[in-house]
Each structure stands twice: as structure tokens, then as C-alpha cells.
């Protein structure tokens, strides 16, 4: 079998590295002889590798049209032309391996159906979690389980920022700059810090874990941009750690999908996932809680996942994704969470009573409330018991209109 690789950037060059370093091992583990045959990119002049053993082309159609190529590896990312490349390759009866979360999230349903019709595989382990195995485990290790929940730290940039804020006590803006300097955050960080990267990955996870196709605009999404060093400090005082999670879980027979920051108990396994690492924590009805941890990005680690998919195709040891059922997500209003609230208050008698009585009227009971600071700097920090999204929103809107409350500064969910 011959592989054609389209895109020799970060992950693509990792694929070449592994081919050259571990080629003998890869061949020894393959039932069918195979090789990396053709590379496609616009420019090869900057490559760090000896490319003399590969055919080179700058035209992806030439690679995809080549009848000698059996497996197309798409690593250019983004929407087009990646979608067209994958679709064309599948149409021609070629297997496809990709790291493209966007294309799988947006067009997975049609592409899986096309692959099935053509009797070929479309694999995408590297689309979520980099080197962390999660797509295949959901279709093998966890197959005997009914999946009840999946909780992922799937964005290294935001996890780096939150970890640094936690460890250094620095503010968001300062840490973001550091992350940009280290190459962990892009110049325009919106896709990461706004939660959008996690959102696409969550949609992909939901396809595999729950077999569903959902409207991405129905997924609750909150990024980390409103989290301040004060929130981190108070959170630490309470033995909690803030993580941006991509969550998919079943509640009363309906599916909930959401991306938002969560305060976790510091002994939760996800709380120990620091820096640019990723982890996906899964609850199944048989295995119970299982976690997969590793490098969420990086050239060679991500390429390891790409090669694992390729070997699964070569050895015919892979799975297919079930036909996706379109489902309507559980209404956001009914999502239940415990909450952390931070209110900037005028330090006067009665403010706690005012807030507590509004919360009580909405059925929200308070687990714990602490006043921090004095005078104009006074803040009231509270942790509630479980409350619905709608009750929380109504209560906060009333609290916002209290003359004794100058600002609602922090609203973060607690626990999973």
C-alpha cells in the first residue's frame, strides 16, 4: 500500500520524521508492505528532511488521482481545499487519514457516509488531543460501555494559560503574552481562548462517543477571557483548580454538550493536567472512570497518532463510525451546575442578606459565602449548590440591579 501525504508543515513534517526514524519498526508491524510514496506541498525548499526517496508534487489532484496511492493523509488543515481533498480521495476509493477537526466537525456526517459507501476508512485520531488516543479507544477499549460522559481538556493554549495563572498568580493578559512569545498562542488567540477550538473537538468527540450529529450553534460555549487572577486566587483558597472543559454527557436520556471553564476539586484527575498537556476523562457504565493523558499538540507527538491510524488501515484493524443520528441537545436552560459567584459589593450591612434572599427566591441554596476585602474593594464570593441555568440567569439579573452590588465579576461552574 502506498501513502500520499498532503501538507508537510508542523504535523506533516512529524510524519516524515517518524517514517525516517522508525520506518523499520513500522514495516515490521505491518501485515501488508507499505510506504510513504508521495508528498504534496506548495514548497519543499525549507524541509529539514532528505526527501529524495519520495515523489514530490505541488498539485494535490495529481496525488489523489494517482492510482498507485491507496491512503491519502490530509494535513493542511482548515476548511477548503481540505474538505474537497478528503471528499475526492474517498470518492476514488482511497482511505483517508486526517488531523482536521474542522472538516470532521462540519462535514463528518457526509464524509463518513461516503467512506462507508466506498468501503474505505476515514480516520482522524489526531483531530482531537494530538498524541492522546481517544477516538480509537472510544471505538475499541470502551465499546463494551454505554458512555455516560466525556470531559476533555482538549486545548493546550488555554490550559497553558490557566496553569500559568494558577502557578504564578499572574493576570490573564500577561500570561497570554507569555504564551504568544512561546508559540503556544496565536497572534489572534480567539479560536483558542474563546473556546472555539474546543467546540469543534467536542463535536467530533460527540460523533464518536454518542453517535450523534448536532447543530454546533446549539452547544453552550464560554471561553476563559473573563477569568481573573482574583478568581484563580479564591479558587485556590477553596482547594479548587480552573480548567476549560469540553463536556458531553447524558442527563435524563438527553445529551448535553458544552464548553466552558469549570472549577474542579484539586484531587480530580483532570486537575493535575497542566501546561500544554491534554486529557480526556470518560465515564462508561462498565469501565467507570478512565482517563487518557498526553501531549495535545506538537509535530512528532501528533504525527504519532497519524501513523497509528495509517497502521490500522494497513493492518485492517480499524473500526468505522456508526451512522450518525441527528439529535436535539438538551435545552441549555435545564443544564444543572454548582456555581462560583464573585460580586463586587458596597461594604454595607445587609448586602449578603439581599443577595441571599434573591438566591433563595430562585431556589438556589448557598454552600458557602465569604466576604473578601473592605469598603469599595469588598467582594462577596459564594459557592452554590446545584442550580439550573435559567434560575441562575434570573437570579443574577435581579442581583445585578441591587444598588449594593456594583458588579458581578465572576460566574464559573463548579464540579462535573
Amino acid at each position: 500500500m502506498n501513502m500520499g501525504l498532503i501538507g508537510t508543515g508542523t504535523v506533516g513534517s512529524g510524519v516524515i520524521f517518524i517514517d525516517q526514524k522508525n520506518g523499520d519498526k513500522l514495516s515490521a508491524s505491518a501485515k501488508t508492505p507499505f510506504k510513504l510514496h508521495t508528498l504534496c506541498d506548495l514548497d519543499f525548499s525549507g524541509s529539514a528532511y532528505d526527501l529524495s526517496t519520495y515523489s514530490l508534487t505541488s498539485n494535490w489532484r495529481e496525488l489523489v488521482d494517482n492510482p498507485d496511492i491507496d491512503i491519502v493523509v490530509e494535513l493542511i488543515g482548515g476548511d477548503e481545499p481540505a474538505r474537497t481533498i478528503i471528499e475526492t480521495a474517498l470518492s476514488k476509493g482511497k482511505h483517508v487519514v486526517t488531523a482536521n477537526k474542522l472538516v470532521i466537525a462540519k462535514y463528518g456526517k457526509e464524509l463518513f457516509a461516503l467512506a462507508k459507501a466506498k468501503g474505505v476508512h476515514l480516520l482522524f485520531e489526531a483531530a482531537v488531543g494530538g498524541a492522546v488516543p481517544i477516538i480509537k479507544p472510544l471505538r475499541s477499549t470502551l465499546l463494551p460501555n454505554h458512555i455516560k460522559g466525556i470531559y476533555g481538556i482538549v486545548n493546550g493554549t488555554t490550559n497553558f494559560i490557566l496553569t500559568a495563572m494558577q502557578n504564578q498568580g499572574s493576570g490573564y493578559a500577561e500570561v497570554l503574552k507569555e504564551a504568544q512569545k512561546l508559540g503556544y498562542a496565536e497572534a489572534d488567540p480567539t479560536s483558542d481562548v474563546g473556546g472555539f477550538d474546543s467546540l469543534y473537538k467536542l463535536k467530533v468527540l460527540a460523533m464518536v462517543a454518542f453517535g450523534v450529529e448536532v447543530d454546533i450553534s446549539d452547544i453552550l460555549i464560554e471561553g476563559i477571557t473573563d477569568i481573573t487572577s482574583k478568581d484563580i486566587e479564591y479558587c485556590k483558597d477553596m482547594g479548587l483548580v480552573i480548567k476549560l472543559l469540553a463536556i458531553g454527557q447524558e442527563r435524563e436520556g438527553q445529551l448535553e454538550l458544552r464548553v466552558h471553564p469549570v472549577m474542579l476539586a484539586k484531587d480530580h484527575p483532570l486537575a493535575a493536567v497542566n501546561g500544554v498537556y491534554n486529557a480526556i476523562y470518560v465515564i462508561g457504565d462498565a469501565a467507570q472512570d478512565i482517563m487518557f493523558y498526553g501531549r495535545g499538540a506538537g509535530s512528532i507527538p501528533t504525527a504519532s497518532s497519524v501513523w497509528a491510524d495509517v497502521l490500522d488501515i494497513v493492518n485492517d484493524t480499524t473500526y468505522s463510525v456508526d451512522d450518525l443520528r441527528p439529535v436535539k441537545l438538551r435545552s441549555l436552560d435545564t443544564v444543572m451546575s454548582e456555581y462560583y459567584f464573585r460580586f463586587q459589593v458596597k461594604d454595607k450591612t445587609g448586602v449578603l442578606a439581599d443577595i441571599a434572599s434573591i438566591l433563595a427566591r430562585h431556589g438556589i441554596s448557598v454552600k458557602n459565602a465569604v466576604q473578601k476585602g473592605l469598603g469599595d474593594d469588598a467582594e462577596l464570593v459564594m459557592i452554590t449548590h446545584t442550580v439550573s441555568e435559567s434560575a441562575k440567569n434570573e437570579a443574577l439579573s435581579e442581583i445585578n440591579s441591587l444598588s449594593s452590588v456594583s458588579k458581578i465579576s465572576g460566574v464559573i461552574r463548579v464540579g462535573i
Copy 2:
């Protein structure tokens, strides 16, 4: 395909539970129709499940001889008759799934060869780490990697004991009693606390990760029975956590295998693995560091791994273990570690100088030394830089003969 299950105890009853709860899902995910056909045990009268849909027998030979049975699941554990059952089933061209670490560790080499000769599979995901996937990931996810090291918390009993000592400040004996009361430790705890359970699992991991057959008596083994609450306390003061690890790693082209307690930095991912949980941390040359975490024991979690193996056979999506190479392990004398030493000393001038000069003479440099207590209770706690096993042993033997040292109380490796 028909499955026959031999042994309906802890894990076997979990297999029946999953069959009855998730049977529809299992069937839907199978390419070939299959069912759990026959159960074998000496007595079924205590079963919590309705067994009326299964054939029952108390004679394993009857099950293994039955030409309708394609997959034999051996869950009785121990050496004989488990080994004979597995060998007989393979000889008759049946696939075998087992959770039996002892049989795989002792007879894996011959049994893998027999399975290969007969063109059938012998799978054993549940033999290491309970619900934690590690055998299959080593043969799929991690296949593109050259494995450099594997570091497992693979014994829940010892991890429960160490976690409880850590959290409660209690002594070993007290916590062991608690573990026995909770059913986490056996009346004779030697197999767990002495490290022997981890030893067999390490031998199995080495077969799969490194493709080697080693003499189990060459593996370094130390249990947790010498760890005291004082060691735990000092360790905590230094930001370290003690775990019993099963370690396999390559050093200068040779393999090292060892089971012993290790003090880990508290931000190492393995340090956050608490209670009866298991985790296996793997370093590959491509994926770099990856960790698999979950429940290391328990009826239904372990049965989830058994079912994953069965589905891999039914769907023909599995791997085989390479022919094992017999290797000689790296000499224990050359194993390098940092060390924690705790010496009970007579609190007099010069004791630190005496000890330090012996260490220096053996090329052991001290990273940090603290005197704890006074008078007859005085102790000297040290962390060394990296030192070879032989230099450490020679130095400790000289220190032991110093008149100012009354006892060498703690000798624990630091870091991996």
C-alpha cells in the same frame, strides 16, 4: 461466534452483567453475530444473575471440547488448571481471552507461539491495570513509537495504602488493617505489599512493550513494607509523593526492569493517581509521554477490558504479540537513581561530616540534607544526586558501621 466463560467469580460475574446490560450495544458493534453461550463453574447457586439463557457446566473440558465454542474466556486465575485450560483451548484452534497475569507472565512465550501456530488470538488486556487499557494501546496507538520507558502503578492495594498513609498520616500497619477491612487487601497481603503482583504485571508489560522474555528472578523487587509514616512525612515536606512503580526502561541499549517504591515530584502525572486507581505512564520516541488511568480492579470495570478483547476477536481488529526475544536484563549494579536516605543518628558533632565523607568517597553527591529531631531521636534525611546501585550499597554498608549511626531507616529511590 460463541463464547464460553470459565470462572464466574468477581470478573466473570462482571462479564455476565455487561452481557445482560449492554448486550444490544455489543451485538450492534459486532461484524459477526456472537453470543455468550456456555458458562463453566463448580457452583452456580450463588449467582446474582438470571443464567437461564446460558448452557451451564461444571466441567471445563466439556466447554473447551464443544465444537460450537469459538472463544474461551478464562477467568479462574492462578496457575493450574488455568494454564492447561488456555493451552487446550488454543490447541483446539479456539481464541482465548484471559485476565490471568500469572499464566501470561510464566507461560506467555509458549502460549503466544501456540496461538500463532494455530492462527488464533490470545488476548489479555485485563491482566494488567483492570479497566485501564494498556496492552492494546501498546500494540496500536503506540505502534509508531520506539518505547523508551513504561512506568506503572499497577497494584491498587499498595496504592490505596500509600495514599491513605499520605492523606491520614497513619502508619503502615494501621492502614493495612483498614485496607483489609475494606476488602482492598487480602488476609495475607504479601503478594501485593511485597511487590509480587506488580512483578508479574511488569513481566507481561515488558513482553508487549519491548517484545522480550526475561527471567523473572532477575527483576529488581522491593515492596512497601519498610515505608514508615516518617518517610511519608519527610517526603511530603519536600513536595514529593511515594508510589510503588513497575518500571521498564531502556538504558544504553539494555533493558532495566524493576519494581520498587519511588518518590515522585507532586506535579508528576503519576503522583495524582490515588487510592485503588491504576495508571500506566509510557514514554515513546514519537508520542513522548502518555498516560492511561482508571480502575485497576473491580468486577465490572475489569470485565469491560475482557469484553473489549472479545469484540476485537469478533471484529477481527486485533494484533498479535511479536515472537519474544530472550534478553538478559541490565545488571542491577549499574541501575542509576537519586536516593532518599533516612539515618537514625546520635546527635553529636561530626556525624554529618562522617556520613558526607563516606558518600563523597563513593562519588555520591548530596543534593540536600536536613537534621530532624534531637538527641537519641535525631535523624538525618538526605536526598542524593544520581548514584549507581553498587556505589549506594557500598556507601550504606560503611555508614552502617559508623558508631554515630544507630540505624539506616529509609532508603527510597527518587524520581523516574
